[in-house]
């Protein structure tokens, strides 16, 4: 079946090339049927890639090791869920996933816009097919998922890295890839609109939900990565300003700016150049993000492939083409992109949205500069220089504070020109809440971190503004319809999903920022080495090492991993707070150079974090047991088993099990001091809570209004408009 998969890709490649030609030809008047044929080419490509993807998935689920990629990324002992997800854990599998998602969204957008945007769609189709051709080309010529193992299928696969065996690590790539591929849709339509010189708001309206979906998916991907990092890795942080993290953040930032900026074009016909540029930037940055993970051009914990490979060069070429093309098009169409109006007053929603755009672009620039600085500095000075998290924080923190404040102000101002009286009235309560928040946090002793205090104030202001909007909106609805307040609230949100969904997102962002500020600024960390029975103090808590734990995890009768850990008790001021259990898992390795026993202690290791999360603070713990005292007895075991090569396998396995159990028990009976890492971090939970609120708000914002409600509204308004028009035409 690998042959069929490969054939599908070959046919798909031919179809995309045909489609590009047909689309461009079909853009000419009178050649409509070629544009239609190109649209069908997109459907055909989607069908073929889906088929190829299904073939690959089935191969993984069946553990068909004749597929080279299955043999190197899965094994018979991998749990089913992770077998399915292992399909995209490889270079070739992830490229296939990218192509699959792109072809699906392309099909959706072309179906939705059937018959509309007739000047623009052919070019957009060509761009989308162009991306598809690029990725399918890579799959055919550089990284094929359908290579077969020479000499027949091996009996067992290499298996999945144990650090990946976490649900979020399986969904995180899908979320990010969805975000990247969804960004290609508005990009394609922006290019089409520019080429066709149809730069009114229609192309934006048609692709608005795709931009929003891209934003949402990227946000989910980023937050899943942060969450996984926090609960799974022995580090205790959630964000490191690593190049690949930043690569996903960049398009998310420009998408955020875009979502807000398009409203100004819809309402006032302004910021057209901004919207086109932000759309093109988001699409380009999505490709850059895809490229960064697999290029090796930047030192990163995620950059895996050797430098200078074909794929890196191909991506560089693609990025150069889309950058040059985008800039060229915008410059040549700049007369058409002129604003219909000017900003009349600084105290207006469009002025604040514009400032918002500027701040987001500034943040984007800071992140971009910091991420690519090694390459920039090498180009400018000849030596590579790297920037660390403190540099990022220096700029991002004040910009984020400004962003929070602007997000509160913007929705409370009217378009064109807000009256000073109204403005004063609208901001009294939120400002009051902000001042109160600052006072409270100072009283709680946070004065030594002024930036955090300012952030608390800004976010309190933002929450106050959002709360006020909900309150007043529900009140207005109640006045209009006579519904009770809770019902009015719900129906108001249902009828204005875009606005109130957006407000919820702002509220979520406020919670997120507060969580980040508190957990960064007021964290307590300690890395003590403790004997059993010892206590250490951190952040006002006393953590006591009760006893060591040691055990073996088996799966289907095979030894999966060895666990060495600890039970801890946490107290505050003598009162019991919680028990924690943290351990380290030792996975066996297949490395033949290690001894029979030794290979159970020298393979991959994972940390099982002992975490007590709370609304006010998290207590986080990991352990690094000392296995050096066991080395002698392990070496002895290696020698014994090395000499006893003639044992029947069943007996050998049983004896080995006994030996390992013995060693593990020895650790428990005579535990050496272990190194721990304890972190007490306030308000970390607010980060995850804020993330959920953002997700909820984003979904509400995207959700299309129900057909029924629109009809009712339509009828009512048509009646009123009709009466009005009848009155005016008399």
């Amino acid at each position: 079946m690998a042959v069929v998969g490969r054939a599908c890709l070959i046919i798909a490649f031919a179809v995309t090339l045909y489609g590009i030609g047909a689309a461009i030809h079909g853009a000419r008047p009178g050649n409509r049927r070629f544009a239609e044929s190109a649209r069908r080419a997109v459907y055909a490509t989607a069908g073929l890639i889906t088929f190829a993807f299904v073939i690959l998935e089935i191969a993984f689920l069946r553990s068909d090791f004749s597929f080279a990629t299955v043999a190197t990324h899965s094994s018979t002992t991998t749990p089913l869920f992770y077998k399915a997800a292992a399909a995209w854990s490889s270079q070739e599998g992830s490229l296939l996933l990218w192509a699959f998602l792109l072809s699906v969204w392309s099909s959706v957008v072309l179906t939705i816009t059937r018959g509309r945007l007739r000047d623009v769609t052919p070019y957009a189709t060509a761009v989308l097919l162009g991306f598809a051709a690029f990725f399918i080309g890579l799959l055919l010529f550089s990284a094929s998922p359908f290579d077969t193992v020479a000499g027949g299928a091996p009996a067992e696969g290499t298996g999945l890295n144990p650090l990946l065996r976490h649900p979020s690590m399986m969904t995180h790539p899908i979320a990010l890839y969805s975000g990247y591929t969804l960004a290609a849709v508005p990009f394609a339509f922006a290019i089409g609109a520019l080429i066709a010189r149809r730069i009114d708001a229609e192309w934006i309206a048609a692709t608005r939900r795709f931009a929003l979906a891209s934003w949402l998916a990227l946000g989910i991907g980023l937050l899943l990565g942060a969450r996984w990092s926090y609960v799974e890795l022995g580090w205790g942080g959630y964000w490191a300003w690593d190049p690949v993290e930043n690569a996903a953040l960049l398009p998310w930032l420009t998408a955020t700016a875009l979502i807000h900026s398009v409203q100004i074009q819809e309402k006032r016909g302004m910021l057209k150049i901004w919207n086109v540029s932000l759309t093109l930037a988001t699409g380009t940055l999505a490709i850059v993000g895809t490229f960064l993970v697999r290029s090796g051009i930047l030192d990163s914990i995620h950059a895996f492939v050797e430098q200078g490979n074909t794929i890196a060069w191909a991506f560089t070429g693609l990025i150069a083409i889309i950058c040059a093309g985008s800039i060229g098009l915008v410059v040549s169409r700049r007369a058409l992109l002129a604003s219909e109006h000017r900003i009349e007053s600084l105290l207006s929603r469009e002025a604040v949205f514009l400032m918002n755009n500027l701040v987001l672009v500034a943040i984007t620039f800071v992140v971009f500069w910091g991420t690519f600085f090694p390459l920039i500095s090498e180009a400018l000075t000849g030596t590579k220089h790297a920037l660390g998290p403190p540099w990022f924080g220096k700029y991002i923190v004040p910009l984020s504070i400004i962003l929070a404040v602007l997000s509160g102000i913007g929705p409370l101002l009217s378009w064109r020109r807000a009256t000073a009286v109204n403005t004063r009235r609208n901001f009294v309560i939120p400002v009051g809440i902000a001042v109160a928040a600052v006072a409270v946090s100072l009283a709680l002793g946070s004065g030594h971190r002024p930036a955090a205090v300012l952030m608390f104030g800004a976010c309190a202001f933002l929450l106050g503004c959002v709360g006020q909007e909900f309150w007043r909106g529900a009140g207005a609805r109640k006045a209009m319809s006579g519904e009770s307040l809770p019902v009015a609230l719900v129906s108001m949100v249902r009828r204005n999903r875009r606005r109130y969904g957006g407000y919820l997102v702002h509220a979520g962002v406020a919670l997120l920022f507060v969580g980040i500020a508190a957990s960064s600024a007021f964290q307590h960390v300690t890395t003590p080495t403790l004997q059993v029975g010892q206590t250490t103090n951190v952040g006002g808590y006393a953590i006591h090492y009760d006893r060591p734990t040691a055990g073996i995890s088996t799966h289907d009768g095979r030894l999966e991993k060895i666990n060495l850990g600890s039970d801890l008790t946490v107290r505050k001021n003598g009162k019991f707070v919680t028990r924690l259990h943290t351990e380290r898992g030792y996975y066996p390795t297949d490395d033949a150079s290690l001894g029979v026993v030794g290979r159970y202690f020298e393979g991959e290791q994972t940390s099982e974090v002992g975490l007590k999360a709370g609304a006010a603070r998290d207590i986080w713990s990991v352990i690094s047991p000392d296995t050096d005292p066991l080395k002698n007895v392990i070496a002895q075991g290696d020698k014994v088993f090395g000499n006893a090569k003639n044992l029947p396998p069943q007996m050998g396995a049983a004896l080995l099990g006994q030996a390992i159990t013995g060693i593990v028990d020895r650790y428990k009976r005579n535990p050496p001091p272990a190194q721990f890492r304890f972190i007490v971090s306030p308000l970390v939970t607010w980060i995850w809570l804020g993330a959920l609120v953002i997700l909820f708000g984003g979904v509400i914002s995207i959700w299309p209004p129900p057909g029924g409600a629109t009809r009712r509204v339509r009828a009512a308004y048509m009646a009123r408009v009709g009466r009005e028009s009848a009155a005016t035409t008399q």
Partner: protein
């Protein structure tokens, strides 16, 4: 418009200026062995030399060599305290911020050790 442009220029200037002074040079072990200014911070990338890891109390010692070096001749000795990432072991690729210490040992900045995940394309963060 003018205000926006001038703020942008100011921000860009600030960025450029501080980035050069706040950054640390990214080096390979062979480069560090030949020239290292005491007191300067370096961003070192390389592979852990097999068998070079040993712990003494809360401190860890290990050697780092160039990724494509054949021998450990021009390897750098590091003294490090702080969190050790899960995949850290012999032969793994690491990134760590270091300063020249006494003698030929370099001192790693606490908690700055990053280990690249070994498998070819799969995992994400380890710090």
């Amino acid at each position: 418009m003018g205000v926006a442009l001038s703020t942008a220029v100011l921000l860009a200037a600030a960025l450029v200026y501080t980035s050069f002074s706040a950054s640390s040079e990214a080096v390979r072990p062979s480069q560090l062995v030949s020239h290292a200014d005491p007191g300067r911070s370096y961003h070192l990338t390389g592979k852990v030399v097999d068998g070079s890891i040993h712990k003494a109390g809360g401190t860890m010692f290990f050697k780092v060599r160039d990724r494509d070096a054949k021998s450990a001749a021009r390897a750098v000795e590091i003294r490090y305290t702080g969190s050790v990432p899960d995949p850290f072991k012999d032969g793994r690729e690491v990134i760590v911020d270091v300063r020249k210490g006494s003698g030929s040992t370099f001192v790693g900045a606490p908690d700055s050790l990053i280990t690249k995940c070994p498998s070819k394309f799969s995992a994400k963060k380890q710090a």
